[in-house]
Assembly symmetry: none
DNA sequence: CATGAATGAGGCTTCATTCAT
DNA sequence: CATGAATGAAGCCTCATTCAT
């Protein structure tokens, strides 16, 4: 009896997100994935029940990743200004450094037919207590949690995914955006 | 007999965006599209050179739609507060009332392989002069255009696409969001 | 618009029953069928919704064939002896001369998973009135219809499908079998 | 430890014939068989060289079963009437009580590609001496052996496999059929 | 212009079988 | 002996596109 090969599962996953970045969601066929992962098409079905299941599995694994990363970057001893800056910069950096994963998660999220049939734990909850805590400490204004999340992260996304701009331009935009957001959500 | 042609093209377009909302990007095959549009698969190729071309065509047609709509909603005689509110509400309403189109445009935009090979005129330019005008009039703070656009529209999108919430909840969030954005971008 | 080609449908059907005789029910893959019929695999799906449907369709077409043939061979002016002989010989000849069709129908009938999901009009009804008529005329003994059918046709089948015997041997057996059946079912 | 092996082989065999009844000949894949038998697919290849071999093996084991059973039911002290009745009723009962085995053997027999490449000892020989003996004793008419076999058993099969009828109806048919056959083959 | 027929290529998945433990 | 992992080949079917009317 051979053991399940973690290496193989990993290379399959990597092939999926890489292919989906390069060729879009529909260009990632099982045979291409298998070829890129260096396994037989049949092997994919040892690790995943079928293609849809595979995508949802990978989505569930990575969709929370970014928030775990954010939490690992912040420190409760930071003051409000620092904290917002770190959150935003970390979010931005994650997108830049994990293009493939981010693109995969975004494409998946935007596809109603996929995301609706997905078990879908909203992984955002980890960051909930952080935000609520800062509201109680009167560091962040008392806006609704969902709105705070939207304000802090969505505009940054717009900068990060804009490939028409140079890195320098985007760094400038980001700098200004941090100030805008700090002004918007911090008390004083 | 011209009218009939236009109708066919329209019904094809509608079939495309409807199918892509319902079954995702890869569920929209030419034969399904043709069936839903009530035409033969061969007919599709009278109006479009091939499938990719067709999608890009439709994308180009609809990707600017939202900004045209926004401009049609605002009035230069409005004050700053009003204007921001109208922009945001209009944007929100467009998404709600044009789910299919919005979903199509979003999915297309997020697919690198499609959007990169697209002629891609940045349709956002229409709104550029409006924003710049308000900056000159010292109504809106002197932030970079891209950031202003991101701040005003991206967070709203988060509210509009969140299907886990009731209409009432989303209306509440929107109300608050308008205030947040007004505070962030208006002078005083 | 091209018209549906009757030739093509016929060659597909023939390929199916020929292949199933040669290679058994499971050796008849769509691609082999298509190759033998001289069409593309995709073409098969223009004429049949799917494989199961195709097989059922062909079964329904041929399962009654033999009884139509039998009826075309008999004549109401025949006496009882003649009639039984003709029925048996015709049945035998049909099997010999339509090996492929007969084998297909038999294999299909014996496969519960196929035959149960089949619309399945019992085509035997055509011969019903013939038998009942002869019972009324006191030519054939007053046995139940189903039993008469079984007695007249089933033993003959055993002779016809026995490939271990020479043609001459089978002719001898058939001759004797006719007498046995005549004795069994005719009055006097 | 021997017992365990035999059990595995038995459970594989049972899985094969059960699956073939339920899902037809082509629905019985090695992996399904293994799953149903509670063993690994690889284990099947310890007991059988390959799939075709396995099927032929099982066929050879069961194809004679019914005749062994028949012989175990009859007694040479019975008179002709009794003997025919017992033979027929036993044959009928075997089919009813061993649906799976019978269906497997029938499907296999009707598949030329399988049965032709089969070592194929005609298992019917056991019953040969019984029939010939009764012919010598002038109990059964002096018809050819093959025809007697066909007359006695084939029509019964028609009743046994007809699932459109109730058990009661079939019992009635069987009762009459016994009389028909007795009349046909017994002297006086 | 419009069509349904036709197709080779490729989609996902399962197959029978072998490998390595 | 027994296993689950692994695989190339092949299964069915649908795809985007073209053909012929």
């Amino acid at each position: 009896m051979r053991k399940k090969d973690d290496e193989k599962e990993r290379s399959i996953k990597e092939a999926v997100i890489k292919l989906i970045l390069e060729e879009g969601f529909h260009g990632a066929s099982i045979s291409k994935i298998a070829k890129m992962a260096g396994v037989s098409p049949a092997t994919v079905y040892i690790y995943y029940e079928n293609k849809e299941n595979m995508l949802q599995n990978i989505y569930n694994e990575y969709s929370e990743d970014i928030f775990d990363y954010l939490l690992s970057c912040v420190d409760l001893k930071m003051d409000g200004q620092q904290l917002i800056e770190i959150l935003i910069r970390s979010y931005y950096n994650y997108i830049i450094q994990n293009k493939e994963i981010f693109s995969f998660v975004e494409q998946f999220s935007n596809c109603p037919s996929l995301v609706n049939s997905c078990s879908g734990k909203k992984g955002v909850c980890h960051i909930y207590s952080l935000i609520e805590d800062m509201k109680k400490k009167q560091i962040i204004k008392n806006y609704r949690y969902d709105n705070l999340l939207a304000i802090i992260f969505y505009p940054v996304k717009a900068i990060a995914v804009d490939n028409h701009k140079s890195e320098a331009e985007r760094a400038d935009l980001l700098k200004e955006m941090i100030i805008i957001i700090q002004d918007a959500v911090l008390i004083q």
